[in-house]
Amino acid sequence: MLIKDGKRVDGRKPDELRPIKIEAGVLYRADGSCYLEWGGNKVLAAVYGPREALPRHIQDPTKALVNARYNMASFSVEERKRPGPDRRSIEISKVTSEALESVIFTELFPRTVIDISIEVLDAEAGTRCAGITAAGVALADAGIPMRDIPVACAAGKVDGTIVLDLTSEEDQEGDADLPVAIAPRTEEILLLQMDGHMTYKEFEEALELAIKGCKEIAKLQRKALLNKYKAFEVG
């Protein structure tokens, strides 16, 4: 029983997010960075670039390459993970790069690469969404020109109920998991993955919930960036 009396295992309501804390500009060397805590997740994202893409044959003469790398630290999970990329990390790196590239004005920096490094230091379900959300803040912190700041959140189905922001238990024992990344201003879908079993109606409900979650988190992203400058936003 993952839901009892309308409450989930950790006491949350179906449409409630886990606590999130975001800090921008936390690293000395990186051009832009973000430290993010989301439930039990601790994620650090850093951006270097745009910088010269090397070796030269990989350069695109019309735009910047966007290269995101998602990696989990050995100690971030219950059973120690051997260092180095596994197939899951490689896939997440790919879909993350693609999600981020859609909002970046890559044509402003031909022949360069924008390197995004996401390190998961402590993991508790939803690390890819945490990674994209942190990367969005790091990109803005680095001054990379974008149409919007990308944000991600997952929804899912647990005991027949559509819920927002799954925990590890809900992810493992639930019926479906739907991570979504959007450009919050326009609600464009930048990343969408799903595994499990959902009817079409259930999917609609889950997607709406995930987008709602994304927009709430987008406010926290903007707050974190402004906090760094302790300023007020226009628009």
């Binding site: 920096f109 912190d141 974008m146 007020f232 936003e233 628009g235």
Partner: protein, 217 residues
Amino acid sequence: MMRRIVLPGSVVGNAKSKLPGKGVFKEGDKLYASRLGILEDKGKYVNVIPLAGVYDPNVGDTVIGVIQEVFKNAWIVDINAPYPAILNMEDAPWKMEYGETAKYLKVGDVIVALIKLVDEARNVEVSMKGKPCRKIEDGIIIEVQPSKIPRIIGKNASMLNILKKYTQCWIFVGQNGRIWIKGEDDKVDLLIKAIRKIEKEAHTFGLTERIIKMLGG
């Protein structure tokens, strides 16, 4: 007090009455910021003055470069941009024969140069023909975020003049985020501290007064 800061995706104007300037793009009938920066809404254009980001070379910029590679008739110069620049021997201030380039500039040498050319694919050429250009032989070079250079110079060089006045240091500012400083050790230390403070507080009001106070004015 703080200036107003915008983020990528912030609404900054109406496309019907204003035009998108630097760091601003148009979507539908609104104008949006593409970068984290300070909003500048004067006249016909809406601009965003970036608070972060790499140096993007523009023709005419004065830059401080470091020689990376030497060829028989040219040098590759690191100008602190995502793009390396080429200095052809014809654009050097000395007359030389093919193969003599290493005699004048070797790897690690520091120069003041001007951006001569930037094409669509961002191939960059620099030249050392022009008044400020020279090889730098002494002093130190510090690096700051290129987006903070305008604040370090100030309106009509007001901030730069204050820095020079109170530290009696020689200061030469490159648009690419590199600053050449010469002076007495403790004055140079104080100057660097002041520059770092400007870097950190570039977006605030009242900075000039705080810098004057810091420099003992």
